[in-house]
């Protein structure tokens, strides 16, 4: 073979660079996970709400009334009773409001639940501020235990005028496998 040592050294160098590129892309795959969260948080497109926020009293826009709807869903196989005690309320942008949710563990064993929030339209997400939400932490319910869970929120008074209805949806998951000690 005329394959000189020089050529195969060069080929080896090319191969090494490409191996490094492949390793970097493997890392990039994992970097997509935080990037995805950062992107969703930045744009608010996933309905992911950061919080809790500091309660700041702001100007209340009494000229507008926004309909806020609450939807609850059980993830497949989650046996809890889970509902919003007020299905629909009307609020003025800027006003702090408290609503209650109800959860009951009807099973014979203690369980841990985690509610995952979402806001529709997604454009409204960044205007929803929560100082307190049961979705910020896992909820532990003993066998047969029921509990009222509060949500304190305000819509920012800068909420775009074309948004007249905001739907807040909560899906409850069995988080037993991820229970925080």
């Amino acid at each position: 073979m005329t394959d000189s040592p020089k050529t195969s050294f060069k080929a080896g160098k090319t191969a090494l660079k490409l191996v490094l590129a492949a390793v970097a892309m493997f890392g990039f795959g994992f970097a997509l996970v935080p990037l995805y969260d950062v992107f969703c948080e930045f744009t608010g497109i996933n309905g992911k709400i950061t919080g809790p926020v500091e309660r700041v009293e702001q100007w209340v826009d009494t000229t507008r009334t926004i309909k806020v709807q609450f939807i609850t869903t059980n993830n497949a196989g989650m046996p809890w009773e889970f509902e919003a005690l007020q299905e629909e309320i009307e609020v003025h942008p800027g006003a702090w409001t408290q609503v209650e949710f109800w959860a009951l563990n009807p099973t014979q064993k203690d369980m841990v639940g985690q509610a995952v929030p979402s806001v529709s339209p997604s454009e409204a997400t960044e205007y929803v501020q929560k100082t307190e939400c049961f979705c910020f932490s896992q909820q532990t319910l003993a066998a047969g235990e029921g509990r009222k869970m509060p949500l304190i929120f305000a819509l920012d008074s800068k909420l775009p005028p074309h948004i007249r209805t905001v739907t807040m949806s909560y899906t409850i998951f069995d988080a037993g496998a991820f229970a925080e000690k």
């Binding site: 080896g12 191969a15 892309m25």
Partner: protein, 527 residues
């Protein structure tokens, strides 16, 4: 790296070793190319048998032959085996055989790694296939293995699937590294980049795509593995993860992957059409740039697979327009192929027939792709048989016909014999009719609303499904003609000349037929 030099000394100018160990230990690019091609052909028959099981069940509405659980395993395994076991290894096999011959190199740049990257494959697919015989059954979550189907609700065989994907990923990455290292370092003097045959160019670009995205696939299955066994929650909302994240990461791999399966076919067709039109390829440079643009665009269109997951409007619009942009470089390529034929002295040998069918039928697949790219319309087409029709049109008469055309084109160079032209044409017409009878009706049942991946369906879809099943059997069994023809050509036939085809251009036609075990020991001079 340094092994590339070390082992060459004991090789000299003798022929292949004898017996089975020749194939186990070989570092010869032709041997490894041959093994890749036979492996891919075997997988084509295994995956094809699964397709026929699916089509038999769908011949009539109602459940007659198999259980729905097994049906899901068949659709999943058919997809995985055809994508990773048939199409991709076949292209790597063609690259192994032809890239060194086309650039005037004595062998691949890293011959031992070449041996390794092939021999991983039978183990990877052995592991994947053996899950069919386990109690849990084979993977049943579709070839796209969306979480949580593939995590929370997966059969226990999913772990074998994950390691299988890791192994085929490593194999593909090593193959791609080898091809790039060969093309960049071992070209004959005078073979500048812009003189390289288009098959070499398309493979160079494909190899870069492989190195960019196969690690991301390895990453996503690793995340699944961790979710299933190590208590993480990348994709489980209960623990703070997000199942939609899975789809983003998967399609970040998946969309470049579909170009990995078509770009080398573009290259093959760009070799064949000039030969049988007896004219140089029209717009060589624009072909190179078009291929590069397609490769670049493939990274920014992934969410068009996810129009219905609830993306915001701006995102839908971006991915819709970016996707439609791909039609431009693809249109350039089709235009160039047609212009190459324009006023050429065309003859219609089997490779040319397959290449022509490729141009026409791939374009049909491209157009249905454009229809799917329209985000508002996609809400109707999503997950229907229209999607199945679309991607089978680009993968079967697209990628697979490209491979078959390449095999017919180079077969006389490999074996030293001309194949039986009459039998080749018979194979072509049976395949051409079979493929269209199978997949064309799927457009209609898809538009009418038949969902994909279901073992039973509503009565109004019955007629078209029956037609598609008949077509599938015609297509499937006509591949046995191909098998017979290959064996016949290897064992004997009319002696092939060195040039093989009148009007064929390129270094591979300057060496004797059959190609000697070692070629270009002295680098050829390229004008």
């Amino acid at each position: 790296m340094t092994t590339a030099t070390a082992h060459h000394d004991d090789h000299g100018h003798h022929g292949p070793a004898k017996g089975i160990m020749r194939w186990v230990l070989t570092t010869n690019h032709k041997d490894i190319g041959t093994m890749y091609l036979w492996f891919a052909f075997t997988m084509l028959f295994i995956g094809g048998a699964m397709a026929l099981i699916i089509r038999t069940e769908l011949f009539q509405p109602g459940m007659q032959l198999i259980e729905p659980e097994f049906f899901n395993q068949m659709t999943t395994m058919h997809g995985l085996i055809m994508v990773f076991g048939a199409i991709m290894p076949a292209f790597v096999g063609l690259a192994n055989w032809m890239v060194p011959l086309m650039v005037g190199a004595p062998d691949m740049a890293l011959p031992r790694m070449n041996n390794w990257s092939f021999w991983i494959l039978p183990f990877a697919f052995g592991m994947l296939l053996f899950t069919l015989f386990t109690e849990a059954g084979a993977p049943n979550f579709g070839w796209t293995f969306y979480a949580p189907l593939s995590t929370t609700y997966a059969p226990s065989s999913v772990t074998f699937f994950i390691f299988g994907v890791h192994m085929m990923g490593i194999s593909s990455i090593m193959g791609a590294i080898n091809i790039i290292a060969t093309i960049l370092n071992l070209r004959a003097p005078g073979m500048t980049l812009m003189k390289m045959p288009l098959f070499v160019w398309t493979w160079l670009i494909t190899a870069y795509l492989l190195i960019a995205v196969m690690p991301v696939l390895a990453g996503v299955v690793t995340m699944m593995l961790m979710d299933i066994h190590f208590g993480t929650s990348f994709f489980d909302a209960a623990g703070g993860g997000d199942p939609v994240l899975f789809q983003h990461v998967f399609w970040f791999f998946g969309h470049p992957e579909v170009y990995i399966m078509i770009l080398p076919a573009f290259g093959i067709v760009s070799q064949i059409i000039p030969t049988f039109a007896r004219k140089p390829l029209f717009g060589y440079a624009s072909m190179v740039y078009a291929t590069s643009s397609i490769a670049f665009l493939s990274f920014i269109v992934w969410a068009h697979h996810m129009f219905t997951v609830g993306l915001p409007l701006q995102t839908e619009l971006f991915f819709m327009y970016a996707t439609m942009l791909i039609a431009i470089p693809t249109g350039v390529k089709v235009f160039n192929w047609v212009s190459t034929m324009f006023r050429g002295s065309m003859t219609f040998e089997t490779p040319m027939l397959f290449a022509l069918a490729f141009v026409v039928l791939f374009t049909i697949g491209g157009f249905s792709g454009l229809m799917l790219a329209i985000a508002p319309a996609d809400f109707q087409y999503h997950d229907t048989y229209f999607v199945v029709a679309h991607f089978h049109y680009v993968l079967v008469p697209g990628a697979l016909f490209g491979i078959i055309a390449g095999v017919y084109y180079w077969l006389p160079k490999w074996t030293g014999h001309y194949y039986d032209e009459k039998l080749g044409k018979f194979h072509f017409w049976m395949s051409f009719i079979g493929v269209n009878v199978t997949f064309f009706p799927m457009h209609f049942i898809g538009l009418a609303g038949m969902p994909r991946r279901i073992p039973d369906y509503a009565l109004q879809f019955a007629d078209f499904n029956a037609i598609a099943s008949v077509g599938a059997f015609i297509f499937g069994f006509s591949q046995l003609i191909f098998l017979y023809l290959l064996i016949k050509t290897i064992r004997g036939g009319e002696k092939a000349t060195d040039e093989v085809w009148e009007g064929a251009e390129g270094l591979e036609w300057t060496i004797p037929s059959p190609a000697p075990y070692h070629t270009f020991a002295e680098a050829p001079e390229v004008k």
